[in-house]
Amino acid sequence: MIKLSNISKTYRTQSIETLALDNINLEVKPGEFVSVMGPSGCGKSTLLNIIGLLDEPDKGILHLEGNLISGYADKKTAGLRNRMVGFIFQSFHLIKELNVFDNVELPLIYRKMPSGERKKRVYEALEQVSLTNRMHHYPSQLSGGQCQRTAIARALAGNPGIILADEPTGNLDSTVGKEVMNILTDLNKAGTTIMMVTHDELLAKTTHRIIRLFDGRLVG
């Protein structure tokens, strides 16, 4: 379960102060597939970053899978991120120096898992996205769809309870986008909680619930 209570976040530069999230109260139940929608700059990514412990709220309380996130010590948040959350980004963000296998293995490496166990998990994750035949390829040798499938495999390799997907189909054509959505839907059916930022109303309608943000506030 994800629970946000009175979460606010303001970004400050020397001359500008931007209220990114304003008093957000939100609950996402285990196994839910939620879409987050809203215009650019409304705070969608900030919301995902705060839930994914990549960013710290100025105010408010966050619960992740029953754990109250109090204090954002680097080592602690790194461990929680590794175990609880898997990220999928619009631009894939694969490490171009590593091949598909090594990219997918990344979260398991930081979990200090034995090598044999890691290999097994990576293989299973790649099987789920039908990419075992590309495991020795580098990102530059893959299509956009294959890159995103690799990113999905990386997100689910660690078997996290929550997947945070920030416009996962934004850089893909509709056919490949549909494939990626099918994979995400299957993952959700298997019990993974998914929060997905999207601009695509049709895709959002295929999820359980749509959350709408405007100027940092929940509007629906």
Binding site: G43, H93, Y110, D166
Partner: protein
């Protein structure tokens, strides 16, 4: 995890060829110079040829004479002949003690000007140092006492003076006004020697003893150095105690002058000692003295590499952000970056070591390097654990210096900035 780091390092190194080249060039050049310097210094300190047991030898040389017990003028000189004969050579704790000095000798031969070394010594000199005699023998104690006009010459001087003639025993070598009969030929002395000069050796008694002059410092001044050979290094403290006690006796006997002689010192200590025997040359003094040298040779290239590393952080922002997103803590990222930097510096170090061997092999006889103030010796090959340790230490220091700050900066980066172009 290390495999993952290595793979990333290798790929990044290959993708940024200019960066990799500049980094490796800076590191390998630094290590090459450090290697050449430390190999040459090690050669000087460890000794070779007649100095093969240099590790068991202590040397007393420079003396400071103060014209009053407190205050007064200071005169820097070397040890006087009488004190060496009457006092220092009677010290019991050393196995063998020799007195000697050496200077340059300029002479003409077949119309050409040459400079060689000459050394005046006692008979014990041949026991303190381990010369291999190609021909003949050394002069004896009795011959020294009698001031016999005898000489031992080195192989290169034999070739210079007598050409292809092999049996030169009994031939005459003219040193200034002295006609010296050759009684022995020894191997040449390595140019890295701190104590010995290649050329001609003859008894010090050929020179008349100095006349004591009680009005100045001259009763104690002279040109001599003393070498104390011990059975092992455990004898060193006792030899030093006895030497300083003897010096105190001479000093106490004189109502006016104050005498100072350092040591006697090991070869390492001599390398760092100054003319002033009262100068502190302990580890901290050395550190202070050579900090600038160290700064120039190690720190500046390390700062250069650090600057390159800082520039690279931005390039690798996305990778860092991704690693953080999937559970890498700042400490883990610091470790990764320092590891990569150490791999780079050790690679540069290996290249530097190979280059130093090549440079010494090609230019060793033609290029001299300074090993102490006023002393340059040819670059020399001498690889042992000490040299390896120094090089490895410099490599690691280099890697840490250039890697730690960029690693800290990198590990503190906010991943959000790189994951979606800073959009909020």
């Amino acid at each position: 995890m290390l495999k993952n780091y290595l793979r990333t390092f290798w790929k990044v190194a290959r993708q940024n060829k200019l960066f990799t080249f500049l980094s490796l060039f800076g590191i390998s050049m630094t290590i090459m110079f450090v290697m050449i310097f430390s190999m040459t210094v090690t050669k000087v300190v460890k000794g070779s040829g007649p100095e093969k047991h240099l590790g068991n030898i202590l040397v007393a040389e420079n003396m400071k004479v103060r014209t009053q017990k407190r205050g007064g003028n200071e005169v820097f000189t070397e040890l006087g002949r009488t004190e060496c004969e009457e006092y220092y050579k009677k010290i019991k704790s050393a196995d063998k003690i020799s007195m000697f000095f050496g200077y340059d000798w300029e002479f003409r031969q077949n119309g050409r000007q040459y400079t060689k070394g000459y050394m005046v010594t006692d008979a014990e000199f041949w026991e303190v140092f381990d010369f291999d005699f190609i021909l003949g023998r050394p002069y004896t104690k009795e011959e020294v006492t009698n001031g016999a006009n005898l000489a031992v010459i080195t192989e290169s001087l034999r070739e210079l003076l007598f050409g292809n003639e092999n049996n030169v025993l009994g031939k005459i070598v003219q040193y200034r006004d002295f006609s010296l009969t050759v009684i022995g030929v020894v191997e040449d002395i390595p140019p890295t020697s701190q104590n010995l000069r290649s050329g001609v050796f003859f008894p010090y008694t050929l020179f008349p003893a100095e006349k004591p002059d009680t009005r100045s410092f001259s009763p104690y001044s002279g040109a001599f150095s003393l070498a104390f050979k011990a059975k092992n290094r455990n004898q060193f403290p006792e030899i030093r105690r006895d030497f300083q006690a003897t010096l105190q006796r001479i000093d106490a006997a004189d109502p006016n002058l104050a005498l100072f002689v350092a040591g006697p010192n090991t070869q390492w200590q001599r390398l760092f000692a100054t003319f002033d025997p009262e100068d502190d040359f302990g580890p901290w003094a050395l550190l202070r003295k050579y900090l600038l040298w160290g700064f120039g040779f190690i720190f500046l290239p390390a700062v250069n590499l650090m600057a390159l590393n800082f520039a690279r952080i931005r390039e690798r922002g996305e990778e860092i952000a991704v690693r953080k997103s999937f559970g890498a803590s700042s400490a883990v990222l610091k470790g990764q970056f320092i590891f990569e930097n150490l791999v780079l510096t050790v690679t540069g170090g290996v290249i530097g070591i190979v280059l130093s061997f090549v440079v010494v092999a090609l230019l060793g006889n033609t290029l001299n390097i300074p090993v102490k103030a006023g002393t340059t010796v040819p670059m020399s090959f001498s690889f042992d654990f000490l040299v390896f340790g120094i090089t490895l230490g410099v490599c690691l220091l280099f890697g840490m210096l250039s890697g730690v700050l960029p690693a800290i900066r990198m590990s503190r980066m906010k991943p959000v900035k790189y994951l979606k172009g800073g959009e909020i």
